[in-house]
């Protein structure tokens, strides 16, 4: 049906080809990292793109024990998980109040939170380090978690305010007329409807915290507190003394990568939607 000139048809065919090439490259890169993590170090240096002849999990045992990745993974999971829950619990009522109340104060506060989106972490890193060392919370996952909760506020409030604005107020009206107080209305009427948005906010915050590197490097340094990005970077740094052990390094990369792959294949559309539609509003 569509009339097309041949040049445009060719251009779109080249474009489609290029897109598939990039898609294939992305997939192959991940696949290569996964396969390489199952091969021994010398083997990798010999043939960069070989299949694991006899898949071995030695790299993972080394990474988890000697590299300290086991403890780091646990620290990452706890810090990212708990701080994201705390961030959503704090931000949800605030975002709800901001979305429902139309006053000058409300829009001023919304603006204040939104302005935080533009502040790069490098501005906060020195003050937060100094402040936390005053209360002996450096080199502690509690301190790091607190920092993540603070850093999460602008985006989580921003995201959830947009989300709550999209929920019609009819239900609340009915609840209030029935005599429910504000807390009960929020917890029993609004939150169940908003569950999707809260899950998205949690997921996005978890992903951010899981990958966060600058504050983790500064605020954690002993074996018991470091998170995965710190473990990975100190493993890479240690290689100048121990010699290059690519197998273990790629096993470490896989440990940091695997939960993201799992989350993305499980709830990919929700993640993409949260990170794109929420932004455009």
């Amino acid at each position: 049906m569509r009339r097309r000139n041949p040049a445009a048809g060719l251009a779109s065919r080249i474009g489609t080809g290029a897109v598939w090439l990039v898609v294939a490259a992305d997939l192959l890169l991940v696949l290569w990292i996964l396969l390489t993590s199952l091969r021994s170090g010398p083997d990798i240096l010999h043939h960069a793109f070989g299949l694991p002849t006899s898949p071995q999990t030695d790299n993972y045992t080394t990474a988890l024990d000697e590299g300290g990745f086991a403890r780091a993974a646990l620290n990452s999971l706890l810090t990212a998980g708990l701080s994201s829950v705390a961030a959503v619990v704090l931000a949800a009522p605030c975002a709800y109040a901001l979305a429902r109340r139309r006053s000058r104060t409300s829009s001023a506060l919304t603006m204040t939170f939104a302005m935080g989106l533009g502040v790069p972490g490098q501005v906060l890193v020195v003050p937060l380090f100094v402040g936390l060392s005053r209360v002996s919370l450096t080199d502690s996952d509690l301190g790091l978690g607190l920092v993540y909760v603070g850093l999460a506020m602008p985006f989580t409030v921003f995201l959830l305010t947009g989300f709550f604005s999209g929920i019609p107020g009819v239900l609340e009206e009915a609840a209030v007329l029935d005599g429910a107080g504000p807390v009960r209305t929020f917890v029993q009427v609004v939150l169940p409807v908003a569950r999707g948005g809260l899950v998205t906010a949690f997921l996005l915050q978890f992903i951010t915290a899981w990958n966060e590197t600058l504050f983790a490097l500064v605020l954690t340094n002993s074996q018991g507190t470091i998170t995965l990005p710190v473990a990975l970077s100190s493993f890479v740094a240690a290689q100048q003394f121990n010699g290059l052990d690519f197998g273990t390094m790629f096993a470490g990369v896989c440990i940091i990568l695997a939960p993201m792959i799992a989350l993305f294949s499980w709830m990919g559309s929700r993640i993409i939607q949260g990170m794109t539609v929420g932004i455009g509003k």
Partner: protein, 321 residues
């Protein structure tokens, strides 16, 4: 400020239950929303004030002193900022930050638009989009490490090039080439994300606009120029701001690029975030928290200015459809 606006209404109304509902049209719901406002916002606001706003203020204050983090703070006033701009390492970092922002941004946006155009008419577009999006969920260090292996002198890329007869491949990871490599990786990982945002906006544009344009004989580029671009303009403006802000936050990608085993990457690839990190948390020397926070404040001012200018430049009358 707020209470002065709210109070007359609240105190002016009698305490009784029946009267206030009629005054200024305030129903029970509105009254409840007003009452819940501060209790609901206070916890988040407190955390935000203590862990976010106060540190920004503290950074500004520290940037006026000479301080190693432990001893006494020596007043320096604006001197730190002058020292900063005399420091060639900071100037390099600043130029690199701008380079990543402007050049990286331009390439990413051109590619994202091209991808949006292609993906629009492609089969399995959602699958392709998902794969392209995924790198934005990956820690930047992973790409740095992978690149360090792939592009090493005897690494797979050079071996592959040898098969094509390239015997003197470029020195990918040499000090001079690090920044372009970082830039390339950045574009590679960011394009999928911005494509997804723009695609989400483009999907909202009703089909009849395109059909009408096609009937009028508009080619694909004219359709893009006269329909897609104006309709998605708001989102594009937001994306530009988002890019500006996030390009300044880049840190771990540079820190570990090429799997560098030194404490820090070479200065030629630093951006302001790496500069702040090395000034404030150096290995073996005394921390210079004054210049570190001055550098951080300088980049904050830079982001703010660029954001304000961008918003001005990109402001258009919204298109209704």
């Amino acid at each position: 400020m707020a209470t002065t606006i709210d109070d007359p209404l609240r105190t002016g109304a009698p305490r009784g239950r029946s009267a206030p509902a009629s005054r200024a049209g305030v129903g029970p719901l509105e009254r409840q929303r007003r009452r819940m406002f501060w209790p609901f916002t206070a916890p988040a606001l407190t955390v935000y004030a203590v862990l976010f706003i106060a540190p920004v203020g503290y950074a500004l204050w520290t940037s006026l002193y000479k301080w190693d983090g432990m001893g006494a703070m020596d007043w320096r006033g604006p001197q730190n900022y002058i020292l900063l701009f005399r420091d060639p390492r900071f100037r390099t970092s600043l130029v690199n930050t701008l380079e990543l922002m402007v050049i990286g941004g331009t390439i990413t946006f051109v590619l994202s638009f091209a991808l949006t155009l292609v993906l629009r008419e492609m089969r399995a577009r959602l699958f392709a989009r998902s794969v392209l999006f995924f790198p934005s969920l990956v820690n930047g260090m992973v790409f740095g490490i992978a690149a360090g292996f792939l592009f090493s002198p005897t690494g797979p890329v050079n071996q592959a090039l040898k098969l094509f007869g390239v015997t003197t491949p470029p020195k990918w990871l040499s000090t001079d080439n690090l920044l372009p490599m970082v830039l390339g990786t950045l574009v590679w990982t960011a394009t999928g994300y911005y494509t997804s945002i723009i695609m989400a906006a483009v999907d909202q544009i009703p089909d009849y606009l395109y059909e009408a344009a096609e009937l009028d004989g508009a080619g694909p580029f004219q359709r893009f120029r006269h329909i897609t671009l104006p309709c998605a303009w708001d989102v594009i403006a937001v994306c530009a701001v988002l890019w500006t802000v996030s390009s300044v936050k880049i840190f771990e990608l540079i820190l570990l690029y090429g799997g560098s085993t030194n404490a820090y990457p070479p200065v030629s690839s630093w951006n302001t975030a790496v500069y702040v990190y090395t000034e404030a948390f150096p290995q073996g020397t005394v921390p210079r928290l004054g210049t570190a926070t001055a550098a951080a404040m300088a980049s904050l001012v830079m982001v703010t200015l660029i954001t304000v200018v961008l918003r001005r430049l990109l402001r258009r009358e919204p298109v209704e459809y």
